[in-house]
């Protein structure tokens, strides 16, 4: 069979196929499968695809030619909003991550080695990465010992997340507050600090 198809119909058909398909379509698939019944040159097909590409300029999606063929895809600027449709819940932080965070918060600035020393176990890079990615800790300097390990401290984002203005507002563990001892060491009266 050799049916005729006009340019407008050709563009509509290509558009419908490319949107209905769940994978990219090659020029050959379009011409030999979808358009098998039509009398059509490859050149006309290519021109129609070019026109279709132009039709979508300034829209929310675009027709692109990938290694596997033509496909419509969303414009990059809308990706972050599209992502809201399918939120992914990441797993809860492990005990180890929480302990590391607590040590950084209460003992900052502190190196990874020092955290390991207190916790008695290795602190994986992955754990530190998790907290850095979350924006809760940062490197504030390097300790001048061999290897110059980074000194970690909490960030303003950390304080904001926990709803406090400064570290001093973080609660303390009652059994861990030997206030008197502290002031004796530095030789000051309690009254001097509020």
């Amino acid at each position: 069979m050799a049916n005729k198809i006009n340019d407008l119909q050709l563009i509509q058909l290509l558009e419908a196929c490319l949107f209905a398909s769940d994978r990219p379509l090659t020029i050959d698939e379009l011409s030999d499968v979808v358009l098998a019944d039509f009398l059509l040159t490859k050149k006309r097909l290519q021109q129609a695809l070019k026109q279709l590409t132009l039709d979508y300029q300034g829209r929310g999606i675009e027709l692109v030619l990938t290694a596997k063929g033509y496909r419509f895809q969303s414009k990059p600027e809308w990706s972050q909003y599209i992502a809201l449709l399918w939120p992914e819940r990441s797993p809860k932080y492990s005990r180890a991550v929480l302990e590391t965070l607590a040590l950084i918060a209460y003992r900052q600035p502190i190196t990874r080695g020092e955290i390991e020393e207190v916790r008695g176990v290795t602190v994986s890079s992955q754990m530190i990465r998790t907290l850095l990615d979350r924006g809760w800790i940062k490197v504030v300097g390097h300790k001048e010992v061999p290897g110059r390990p980074g000194l970690y401290a909490t960030t303003p984002e950390f304080l904001t997340y926990f709803g406090v203005k400064s570290l001093a507002e973080l609660p303390t563990l009652p059994e861990l507050v030997p206030v008197g001892e502290f002031f004796n060491t530095v030789g000051m009266t309690e009254g001097s600090i509020q």
């Binding site: 399918w86 939120p87 302990e99 965070l101 570290l167």
Partner: protein
Amino acid sequence: MSTEIISEAPPLTVQQPLPLAMVRGQMVIDRPEDLFIPPDALEVLLEAFEGPLDFLLYLIRKHKFDIVDLPINEITLQYMEYIDLMQDMNFELAAEYLVMAAMLAEIKSRLLLPKHDELAETEVDPRAELVRRLQEYERFKLAASQLDELPREERDFFQGHAALADNYQPYVILPEVSMADLLSALSDIAKRVKDFKHHHISKEKLSTRERMSQILEQLRTHGYLEFSQCFSLEEGRAGVVVSFLAILELTKEKLIQLTQVEAYGQIHLKLA
């Protein structure tokens, strides 16, 4: 699984006269009384009808019987001939076909019984229930064919879909952490580590440690700080004390160096 739902369906839209069966694409419209039915046609016959009601409707349409004035004798005869034939050929008949045969026989016998005039006013036509069921079934048979004609996804239209842009990143909801989680982690460490008490944690000490981090960060960006730059009058006395303690602690931990070029001169802080 889906073989049942996606099996080849016999033509639905054809209402009458239905072919008895389709065998290798050819219609078989047979009358059992005068014609031989090829065995494979009978097999298809069983599959072509949706049960005895469908089959009865076929017989009614084929013989142009009036459904509301059903000639029970003839329809029963027709029905029985097919059933017998199929049983003779050892086809396994669904129980419903045999139940229907019994029902037809019963209706027939009730119609043949002499009527009692005194009961005539209240006696219901024995065919009524069967006719009601046939008509009800036919309504839904038609409804099913109407449904089949509706424009349908994957046949008459396809959902439009575009791929995601290359920069697409999933939106990850990060885990919540409560203050209690943090304290409990701290408490665990304290329980495990006996000498943790040496690193006592108090609100005041925390201010110092926070200031230590701040001074370190400033040094990282500026290289060095003048001693006086570490104090801010707005913070009052308490602030001055905190800064002073922080500088002492940083020096003790060998994180910074204090230098004074001349006596009474400016003290400079720089990273160790």
